[in-house]
C-alpha cells in the first residue's frame, strides 16, 4: 500500500464537509454575546482628518462603542509593518510612512480605516456609522504609477514618493553586453493592477476572556502564527503566549490573506477593550477597496541579442506601485521575488534590474498569486517574442536557442538552479499544442473571417520559500522554515500538525499521503491539524508555493524521527539492535527474520511501557515514553519549477472579442504527490492568469476613486471564458528537499499572461497592453487598418 501513495490521485479527505455545507469559515462562527463591527472608511484618496465627531453616533440605538485613531494613540496600539527591509542602491534604507490601524492624521486611499462602530447588531452599527461625522480637508491624490515620482509628495520626509530605488545585477557587465550587441530590442510594459478576490471575504472575530486574560482572534488568514506574532510584537495588542489566532476554513487566499490587516488588529484590540466578542465580516465592495491588490508595474526593458539569435544581456527599469502604505510583503515582491527571475529560463550572461517603488493614494499592493514572478515572466516572455519577431526568427526556435541546458546552473543574477530540462517540456508542449497544425487552423479561422494567433510562454519560478539565512541576509524580518509535529496516539492513529495553512490546496490529503507513505499507516488513520496557534508548533504559513516543499519536507523529517525512535524500541522489544531493523510498509522487521512489530504496536508500547512478556519495559534505557516528533525544516535552496505553455486565441474582427480556443501546458513540478490536486492548482492559476491578460483590471480614476469596486465593474473570469485546458508534466526532481517536489500553486498564474498576450499580439500584429479587452483589440485593429490605408 505504502509506496503507491506518492503520485496517487487520492480523492480529497476534506471535501465531504465542503460539499455538504459543513465547512466552518470565520463568518460562520457565532459567539455568545457577540457584538458587530462596521468600519468607517475614507471616501477620499488623500485627505487630512480635521475632526471625527462620534457624539451623535454614540447615542444611537445599540451602539456599544466607537473607536477612532485617537483611541489607537491613547492605548498605544502600534502600526502595521512592512516585514522586509530593502536597501536602496545608494545604501539608504527604504522609507516608510506610519501605518496606524485607524488613521488619526491623514487618510491615504479610498477605503483607509478611520473608525470602527461596534454595536449589538450589524444593522445598528451601520445605522450609527451614518451618524459619524468626519471632517476632511481633501488633498490632491497621487494615483498614477508612472508619474508618482514627479507628483506632489504624499508624506513628509518621503521625497518623490519613493520608498526605495533598488538595483540587482552587474551594471557594468550588462552595459558591455549592450555595447557589443548586434541588436537591441526595446519594450515598454504595464503589468496591470489586480484585485485578488478570494471568494470568501475577509472576516475577524475577537474574543477576550477576562478571567484568564486569554485573547482569541478567529480570522481569514493564510498564516495564523505570523498574524499572532505581528499583532503581539508590533501592534502590542496582547502578549503572544496569551493570544491565540485561529484560521478555520479559509475560502481562498491567493496571497491576500498572508498578512494581518488593520481590521484584524482593531478587532482583537476592540474585543479586549470592551470585554465582549466582536465580529466583523467584510462586504465585497470593502474587499475591493481594502484587500491588498497585486502587480501594478510599469517597465522598460531592453534585450541585447547577437545576430545568430543568442541573447547576451537584459536591462530593466521598473516602477512598482506600493499603494498608500508599505504592506507586509510589499517590498520583497517587486525586488527579490521579481528581479532574480527576469532572465527566465534562458542562459543570459549579463542582466541588470533597477526597481523604484513608489507610494500612491491607492490600496496597498502586496503579494498576489505568483508575487513578482508573473511580472518577471511577462517581461522576459514578451521581449523574447518581440526579439524573435524583429529578427524574423521563429519564436519557438528562438527560445530553444537560449534555454539553459546544464544543471546545476548559476544564473547571472541570483539563483543557482538545481535541476530542470527545458527542452523536454517545451518540445512536449509544442506537440501537445499541435504547433505543426497551427497554420491550417489559422487558415480555417481566416476563412470564417477571424484572426488566429499562437503564443508561447516558458517560465521558471523560485518556490519553496525559503532558506532562512539567505532571506534574512537580504532583509527578511523572519526565517522561512516550516514546522511539523507527527504525533502518534496510543491507539495507533496519528495527528499531524503543520505550520502551513490550507485554504483550498488540499493539505489534509497531500500531507496525509506523505505520512501514509512514510509510516505505512492508512490515510483514514491520519488527521492533519492546522490553522490554530494553540494546537501546532509555530509555523510560517502558506504562500509562495512553499507548503509542500518546505512544510511537507518538515513532515517527512518528523516521520523519519518517528521511524528512528521506532527502530530503537522495536529493536529492544525484538531483542535485536536498531541497525538490524528495517522499516517497511508500517512494520519494523529484524533483517533476515520473521520477527517484526507493526508501527501501531510500537506506538502502543511507547505510550504504555509496561511489561511485555519477558521484557520489563519496551523502552530501552534512556528512551522516553510516547511517540511524537517535531521537525523544523529549513530548505537549503529555493525550488525551481518550470514549464512551457502554449495558447491559441481567435479574435472577432468586428468586435475585438478574443476567445482562448486552445491552451496546452507542460510543467515540471518535480515529484508529484497527488496529480489530481496539482492539476486543480494549475487550472486555477491559468484562470487567474488568463483573467489578468484579458479581463481583470483595478482601475482608479484621477481622483483616486476605485471605479472597479464591485463585480459590476471588475470583470471576473467565468466558466464560459475558458476552453478545456490540456495539461501534462515532465519531471526532474528537486534536489533541495527530501520529497523532490518543486511547488505548483502559482505556475498557472505566472505562465499564462504572456502566453495569452503573445497569442493576441501574434493574431493582430501590433503591440497591446493587458488586459487585452475587446475594445483595446478593436482599437488596435482599427488603427492598423487606418495606417495601412494611409500608407496606400
Amino acid at each position: 500500500m505504502a509506496s503507491s501513495m506518492i503520485g496517487s490521485r487520492v480523492e480529497r479527505t476534506e471535501d465531504k464537509k465542503f460539499i455538504t455545507g459543513k465547512g466552518r469559515y470565520t463568518a460562520d462562527i457565532t459567539l455568545h454575546g457577540q457584538t458587530y463591527a462596521f468600519f468607517i472608511r475614507s471616501p477620499h484618496a488623500r485627505a487630512k482628518i480635521k475632526k471625527v465627531d462620534i457624539s451623535k453616533a454614540l447615542a444611537a440605538p445599540g451602539v456599544v462603542t466607537i473607536l477612532t485613531g485617537q483611541d489607537i494613540i491613547k492605548d498605544k496600539i502600534g502600526g502595521l509593518i512592512a516585514g522586509w527591509k530593502i536597501v536602496s542602491k545608494d545604501g539608504t534604507d527604504m522609507k516608510l510612512p506610519a501605518h496606524p490601524p485607524l488613521a488619526h492624521d491623514q487618510v491615504n486611499y479610498v477605503g483607509d480605516h478611520v473608525a470602527v462602530v461596534i454595536a449589538e447588531s450589524l444593522e445598528e452599527a451601520r445605522n450609527a456609522a451614518e451618524l459619524v461625522n468626519v471632517d476632511y480637508k481633501v488633498l490632491t491624490a497621487v494615483v498614477n504609477t508612472a508619474s508618482a515620482m514627479t507628483s506632489e509628495a504624499i508624506y513628509e520626509g518621503i521625497d518623490k514618493n519613493l520608498c526605495f530605488d533598488w538595483e540587482l545585477g552587474d551594471k557594468a557587465k550588462t552595459e558591455e553586453a549592450f555595447a557589443k550587441a548586434d541588436r537591441i530590442v526595446h519594450l515598454k510594459l504595464n503589468n496591470n493592477r489586480l484585485v485578488p478576490n478570494a471568494m470568501e471575504p475577509r472576516a475577524s472575530i475577537g474574543e477576550y476572556n477576562s478571567s484568564t486574560d486569554d485573547l482569541t482572534l478567529y480570522t481569514t488568514s493564510q498564516n495564523p502564527h505570523l498574524t499572532r506574532l505581528v499583532i503581539s510584537a508590533f501592534n502590542g495588542v496582547h502578549p503572544e503566549h496569551k493570544f491565540r489566532v485561529v484560521a478555520p476554513d479559509v475560502g481562498g487566499g491567493f496571497g491576500s490573506k498572508i498578512y494581518p490587516y488593520a481590521e484584524d488588529v482593531v478587532i482583537a484590540y476592540a474585543a479586549k477593550k470592551i470585554g465582549r466578542p466582536v465580529k466583523w465580516v467584510c462586504e465585497r465592495t470593502d474587499s475591493f477597496l481594502s484587500d491588498c491588490h497585486g502587480r501594478d508595474h510599469v517597465t522598460e526593458a531592453e534585450l541585447a541579442v547577437r545576430k545568430d539569435g543568442i541573447v547576451t544581456g537584459l536591462r530593466v527599469n521598473t516602477i512598482a506601485n506600493l499603494g498608500g502604505y508599505g504592506s507586509l510583503f510589499a517590498t520583497v515582491t517587486p525586488t527579490y521575488l521579481y528581479a532574480p527571475l527576469i532572465v527566465g529560463l534562458y542562459n543570459i550572461p549579463a542582466a541588470y534590474c533597477n526597481v523604484k517603488a513608489v507610494f500612491t493614494n491607492t490600496a496597498p499592493v502586496d503579494a498576489y498569486r505568483g508575487a513578482g514572478r508573473p511580472e518577471a515572466t511577462y517581461l522576459i516572455e514578451r521581449i523574447m517574442d518581440q526579439a524573435a519577431n524583429e529578427m524574423g526568427m521563429d519564436r519557438a526556435e528562438f527560445r530553444k536557442k537560449n534555454f539553459i541546458t546544464a544543471f546545476p546552473h548559476q544564473q547571472c543574477l541570483v539563483h543557482n538552479i538545481d535541476s530542470g530540462d527545458y527542452h523536454a517540456h517545451f518540445n512536449k508542449a509544442l506537440e501537445l499544442a499541435d504547433y505543426k497544425g497551427f497554420a491550417k487552423r489559422k487558415a480555417d479561422s481566416a476563412a470564417k473571417g477571424k484572426l488566429r494567433g499562437i503564443g508561447f510562454s516558458t517560465y521558471i519560478e523560485a518556490c519553496g520559500i525559503a532558506p532562512s539565512s539567505v532571506v534574512m541576509s537580504i532583509g527578511a524580518g523572519v526565517g522561512l522554515w516550516e514546522s511539523a509535529e507527527v504525533r502518534f496516539n496510543a491507539t495507533g492513529n496519528i495527528s499531524v500538525f503543520t505550520g502551513a495553512h490550507s485554504h483550498g490546496q488540499g493539505h489534509a490529503t497531500t500531507f496525509a499521503q506523505i505520512v501514509a507513505d512514510k509510516l505505512g499507516v492508512p490515510m483514514a488513520n491520519i488527521d492533519l491539524v492546522h490553522g490554530d496557534t494553540d494546537k501546532g508548533p509555530f509555523g510560517m504559513g502558506t504562500y509562495g508555493s512553499r507548503s509542500l516543499a518546505v512544510g511537507g519536507s518538515a513532515i517527512s523529517k518528523a516521520c523519519d524521527k518517528i521511524i528512528d525512535k521506532g527502530k530503537r524500541v522495536a529493536a529492544h522489544m525484538l531483542e535485536s539492535t536498531p541497525d538490524e531493523i528495517d522499516f517497511k510498509d508500517g512494520e519494523f522487521i529484524v533483517r533476515n527474520s520473521n520477527k517484526k512489530k507493526t508501527i501501531g504496536e510500537i506506538a502502543f508500547a511507547c505510550y504504555l511501557p509496561g511489561t511485555y512478556g519477558e521484557i520489563k519495559s519496551p523502552l530501552p534505557a534512556g528512551v522516553e515514553p510516547g511517540l511524537k516528533e517535531t521537525a523544523f525544516y529549513d530548505p537549503i535552496n529555493f525550488s525551481f519549477p518550470s514549464g512551457s505553455h502554449v495558447c491559441e486565441v481567435e479574435i472577432d474582427q468586428d468586435t475585438g472579442v478574443t476567445k482562448v480556443v486552445k491552451y496546452s501546458c507542460v510543467d515540471d513540478f518535480g515529484t508529484l504527490i497527488n496529480p489530481m490536486i496539482v492539476e486543480g492548482q494549475v487550472h486555477g492559476g491559468l484562470a487567474q492568469g488568463i483573467g489578468q491578460a484579458l479581463y481583470e483590471n483595478a482601475y482608479y480614476d484621477e481622483t483616486g476613486q476605485l471605479v472597479t469596486a464591485s463585480y459590476m465593474d471588475y470583470a471576473m473570469p467565468r466558466a464560459d471564458h475558458f476552453p478545456e485546458f490540456k495539461i501534462e508534466y515532465t519531471c526532474t526532481p528537486a534536489t533541495s528537499n527530501p520529497l523532490g517536489v518543486k511547488g505548483c500553486g502559482e505556475a498557472g498564474a505566472i505562465a499564462s499572461p504572456p502566453a495569452v498576450m503573445n497569442a493576441v499580439i501574434d493574431a493582430i500584429g501590433t503591440d497591446i497592453s493587458m488586459p487585452a479587452t475587446s475594445e483595446k483589440v478593436w482599437q488596435a485593429l482599427r488603427t492598423k487598418v487606418k495606417s495601412a490605408k494611409k500608407a496606400a
Binding site: T708, D713, A715, S774
Partner: protein, 262 residues
Amino acid sequence: MKSFNYHSASTVAEATGLASKASAYLSGGMTMIPSMKMRLASYKDVIDVKKIKQLHGIKVSSKSVTIGAATKHAEVAQSKEIKKAIPALCTLAGKIGDAQVRNRGTLGGSIANNDPTACYPSACLALNAIIHTSERKIEAAKFFTGMFETALKKGELIVAVEFSIPEKSSYVKFPNPASRYAMVGVFVAKHKAGVQVAVTGAKAGIYREKAIEQALDKNFSEKALDNIIIDSSDLNSDIHASADYRASLIISSAKQAVAHCK
C-alpha cells in the same frame, strides 16, 4: 438594508391602495433588493405584487403577445407559445442576468426600473409594445422617459405588456464583461410597416436607431449596414467601452441580429 414594512398584495386594487410616496412595488427584486442592501434606496413600505393573479399569464393572439408583468424571465424564455410568435423575445429573456436572476426577475420589474442597460426595454420599443397599467395603456415610445425613469405615476402599477408580432425579429446582446448587462443590445424587428431597431446599453436610455432602420427598410440585409456610420456624440463612454466602440458594436450587433432574424 434599512427596515420597511413588507406587504403582499393579492389584487391590483389592494396594491395601489397601499402605495404612497414612501413605498415601492416589489416584483422579482433583482435590482431593488441590491439597491436597498447597499442603502442606495430605502422605503417605508414594500408592496409585493408577485402574488396578484392578474399580473400573470401569457396570451397570444394573431397580432400580439401579452405577457403578465410578474412573469419571470425564465418563463418567457421557455414559453412555447411565445417562441412560435416572437422567438426573439425568448432569446432576449434567456440572456438576462444569469439562471438564478431569470428564476426571479420579471418583465414588469425590468421595464419599471428602466435601467439603461436592461434588455427588455429594447423589445418594447422595437415591438411597439403597449404597457397596460393599473390606470391606462401607454405606448412604449412614450413609456421610457429617461435614465431609470418612466411615464409611470406614483403608485401606478404595470399589469401586463402587449408586444405586437412582427414578420421577424432578433435580439443580439453584447454583454459588459463584468456585470454582463448589455454593453450594447440591439433588437431588430421587421414589421409590415417597416423595420424598427431599438438599442439598449448605448445611451442614457433606450432609443431607436433611425440610420439602421432606414438602411434596412431599403434592403433588409447585413450588407445594407456596411457603410452606416452611427453618430457617437451622445453615446455612453465608460471604462468598458468608449462611445466610438459602442457605435461600432451597434453596427456589428445589428448585423448579427439581421442575420439571425426569424
